[in-house]
């Protein structure tokens, strides 16, 4: 099955992909396509600025809806800068941990009080 390409810049309407709200628009689209068993290619072509806030909502949230295997199998990315790839990797690792252990935040107070 050929992947459907999502041009991020077109969904956001700007080369600055920074706001969480804009990430939500991308998430809604990917969510719909993956739920429909489609393969998705995310193209970051011409994206000039990316934040983790944007990527958390656009991609991070997917780990709450789909398994890691489903995402690995059906989602791919292209035209992402080296620095964007670092941010995305960080977002993905954070999301995996977040959904594996939903109670972690509640316990995290100890992270600072134990020091």
């Amino acid at each position: 099955m050929e992947a459907i390409t999502i041009n991020i810049i077109n969904i956001v309407g700007s080369s600055f992909c920074v706001e969480a709200e804009d990430g939500e628009k991308v998430f809604v689209l990917i969510n719909r396509l993956l739920s429909d068993h489609k393969k998705v290619m995310l193209s970051f072509l011409n994206v000039e600025m990316l934040t983790t806030a944007f990527l958390n909502t656009a991609v991070g949230q997917l780990y709450g809806k789909f398994t890691e295997d489903q995402i690995r199998e059906n989602l791919s990315v292209k035209d992402l800068s080296a620095s964007g790839a670092v941010s995305l990797k960080r977002v993905v690792e954070t999301a995996k941990l977040y959904y594996k252990d939903p109670g972690a935040m509640e316990r995290s107070m100890n992270d600072i009080l134990d020091e």
Binding site: M49, T52, A53, E68, S83, L88, M105, D111, I112
Partner: protein
């Protein structure tokens, strides 16, 4: 007459701004005279702008009466004073990063601002394009944090470029809920202000419900370490300072009515920020 004397990026400077706010916060339909003496770090205009707006909300008129000529010049150039009845003047040496007051929904205006005031500035010659890009990214992460979390009516930003010191100082301010209240309400904890800020700066710590996050401030700390700049976060009565030597925390005698994120970046940073290992896009998920 209230006097702000030597406002710089220090505990003493922040405390003076907090004291000025508390001195006048209960006034209604009043005239408040303010004098700026000796020094006022241009980037701190964003914190003063936020405070003056709160005082204006109570129908007070704040008159900035006496300003040292050097301070006045810089606050005219960065257009801060144009919000308070003064004309703006042109910045021949192009060292200011303009004072801006934005609604949280004005993200697109902020894009233009970052582009015009930072990324497209050819007069920042000593700064590599990569470092410029990195700095802009970090500034964005903070702006977006304020958008998502602060519940502030406005977000205030201002900066200054110091060619001789090879630094950029940039400050983002909101007059919203603050770290302590936000975090304690979310989790039912009882952290003090500095504990709350410290918690928020740690990797993967987020108050968002159902959405992962908490990376922006952690990335900022990592960049500040590499770039040898600093970050100060003032929220409620807490000051959290972080630089390449580590972190320090202090308490003020009273609370700032919002959050100040004050950043210093080194523009002579020659770091290549190359990646230790290239990330394989085919294996990113």
């Amino acid at each position: 007459m209230s006097i702000l004397n030597n406002i710089n990026n220090s505990y003493h400077g922040y405390q003076q701004l907090i004291d000025f706010y508390h001195e006048h916060k209960d006034k209604l339909f009043d005239k408040i005279d303010l004098e700026l003496e000796f020094w006022f770090a241009a980037n701190m205009a964003s914190a003063l702008g936020g405070i003056l707006d709160l005082l204006n909300e109570n129908f007070n008129e704040v008159i900035i009466k006496s300003i040292q000529p050097d301070i006045e010049k810089i606050l005219l150039k960065n257009e801060f004073l144009s919000y308070f009845g003064h004309p703006s003047i042109s910045d021949d040496y192009q060292t200011t990063i303009k004072f801006q007051k934005l609604k949280p929904t004005d993200g697109k205006f902020f894009n233009n601002y970052v582009m015009n005031e930072l990324l497209d500035r050819s007069e920042l010659p000593r700064m590599s394009q990569l470092v410029k890009q990195k700095i802009a990214e970090k500034i964005y992460e903070i702006f977006v944090n304020a958008q998502i979390h602060s519940k502030s009516k406005h977000i205030y930003t201002c900066g200054q470029f110091y060619p001789k010191k090879n630094t950029i100082e940039f400050t983002i301010v909101d007059m919203g809920i603050g770290f302590k209240k936000k975090i304690n309400e979310r989790f039912g904890w009882n952290l003090d202000a500095t504990q709350a800020i410290k918690w928020a700066t740690q990797d993967r710590h987020t108050t968002k419900i159902g959405v992962p996050g908490g990376i922006g401030l952690a990335l900022l700390k990592e960049f500040v370490t590499l770039n040898k700049g600093f970050m100060h976060i003032i929220s409620d009565n807490g000051l959290y300072q972080f630089d390449s030597n580590g972190e320090q925390m202090h308490h003020f005698t009273r609370s700032f009515p919002g959050t100040i994120v004050n950043l210093q970046f080194r523009t002579d940073d020659t770091g290549s920020y190359t990646l230790k290992e290239e990330i394989d896009l085919n294996n990113i998920f």
